[in-house]
Symmetry: C2
Amino acid sequence: MAGCYAVFAWEIMVKKYKKTDGVSYALGATVTMELLNRRGEYARCVYVSPKSDVDAVTEKAKTLGVPVVASEKAFNILSPKENCFVIGEFEKFDAKICGERNHIVLVNPSNSGNLGTIIRDVAAFDSVDLVVIRPSADPFDPKTVRASMGAVFGINFELFDSFEAYAEKYGKREILPFMLDGLPFAERDFAKDKKYALVFGNEATGLPREFSRYGGVKIEQSDKADSLNLATAVAIALYKISIQTR
Amino acid sequence: MAGCYAVFAWEIMVKKYKKTDGVSYALGATVTMELLNRRGEYARCVYVSPKSDVDAVTEKAKTLGVPVVASEKAFNILSPKENCFVIGEFEKFDAKICGERNHIVLVNPSNSGNLGTIIRDVAAFDSVDLVVIRPSADPFDPKTVRASMGAVFGINFELFDSFEAYAEKYGKREILPFMLDGLPFAERDFAKDKKYALVFGNEATGLPREFSRYGGVKIEQSDKADSLNLATAVAIALYKISIQTR
C-alpha cells in the first residue's frame, strides 16, 4: 500500500499559502489543467477532492508523473470556502520577459484579483510581456493564479525591486506612464518598429509624480466615476497596442 | 432620549440582503457617499460603526435628513468579513435608460463583481446606458454596489425579462452582438449619427447562437487564454464607441 503512504506524506505538507513559500497552488480543475499543460515540469502534486469527478486532470497528471492525492484536508486548508475540487501544487518558476516585446509595467499593484485579471488579459492578447515592480501583489498567490484562470502559466513576467532596476535592464524603449494629467490616449498611436513600456501605478495612489518627466497619457473618461479600475485601464491600452503593432 | 429609540428601531430592521427585498445597502464610506450625493432621496439610513471616523458621510446624511445609526450589529449581519465601517441603506429605485444614447446590453450576466465593474466603467465613460436581460446578477446586490464603487447611483440602467422585450422597446438601432465567430472588432467603426446596442452574453456560455442573425463582432485575441473576461471585453468596446461617438 505504497499509495497510502504517499497520500499521508503529501497531506501533511499542505499548509496555508505564504508569500515566502517556494510552492504555491492552482485552485480548481481549469487552473490546474493550465498548470499541467503549460508548466507541467513545476507541478509537484495534484489534490483531488473525494467529491470530485475530474478525469482529464488526473489523466494528464499521471501522464506527467505528478502524484494525484485524494484528500479533503488540502481543501480545508487552502480553499475552505470556495467551490473548488482540484488543487495543483507547483514550484514557483522563472518566466523571464524578453526585450523584443512591448511591456506592461505595473508599479506596486496591490490587489491579487486585479493582478490575476491583468495576467489573463496579457495572455489573451499575447503581444506584450508583464513587468511588476515590488512591493506588489504576488503573481504566485493562489488568489492571483485563480483570477488569472491559469494564464499565469502561459505568460512571461518578471519582478523588479524598483522601476530604476527595470529601466536599467530594459529601458531602451519609449516609456509611457498612464497618469491623470496625461495627454489623451485616443490620440496616441503605436508603431510596429518601436518598443514601448506602458506604465501603470497602484490602484489607489496611481504613479508617483516623478513619472511625468516621461510625458504621459490619460484614458479619457467622464467625471462621474472616480477613476478607471486598473485592470480596465490596462485592458484598453493592451488592446490598442496589440492591434496597432501586430 | 429619542435618539436611543431610533437606534433601536432601525437596528432590528437590518437583515441579510435578499434579491426580493425592497431595500439594499451601500457598503463602505465611499459607496455610501455616492448614494447620498447621487440618489440621496432613496437613502433610508446610514449605519456607522463605533470603530469608524467618517465625518463627511455623517455630515452629508444629516444635511439630507437621513438617520445616522451607530451600531455594530448592522455590520455583523451585512458585512461580517469585510473591512467596512459605513453602510448606507437605500430603497431600490428606477433609473430608466433613454433611447437617445447607445446601449450596452448584458444578456444574463451572472457574476455580481463583474456587473459592478461594468457599471463602474459605464459611469467612467458616461456615453452609454446599460441594459441587463434577466435572469441575471442583481444590480442592487450589495456586492454589485460595492464593486461599482457606488457608480450604480450615477448611471441609467434598465432590466428586461428577455432580449425581445428590450428590442421591442429600443430595437430601432444597430444591434451588434459580441460573439466568438464574429468579424474583427478592430475593423469596426461607430458613427456619431447612428445608434447602437452592443450585446454581450453570459460569462460562461456567451450569447445564444440565434444572435448571429444580427451579424457580430469578435475582439481579437490569441489562443493562449480561454476568452476575455466579460468586464474586459465590455471595457474595450465601451472605450472605442465612447471615443468615436463623442
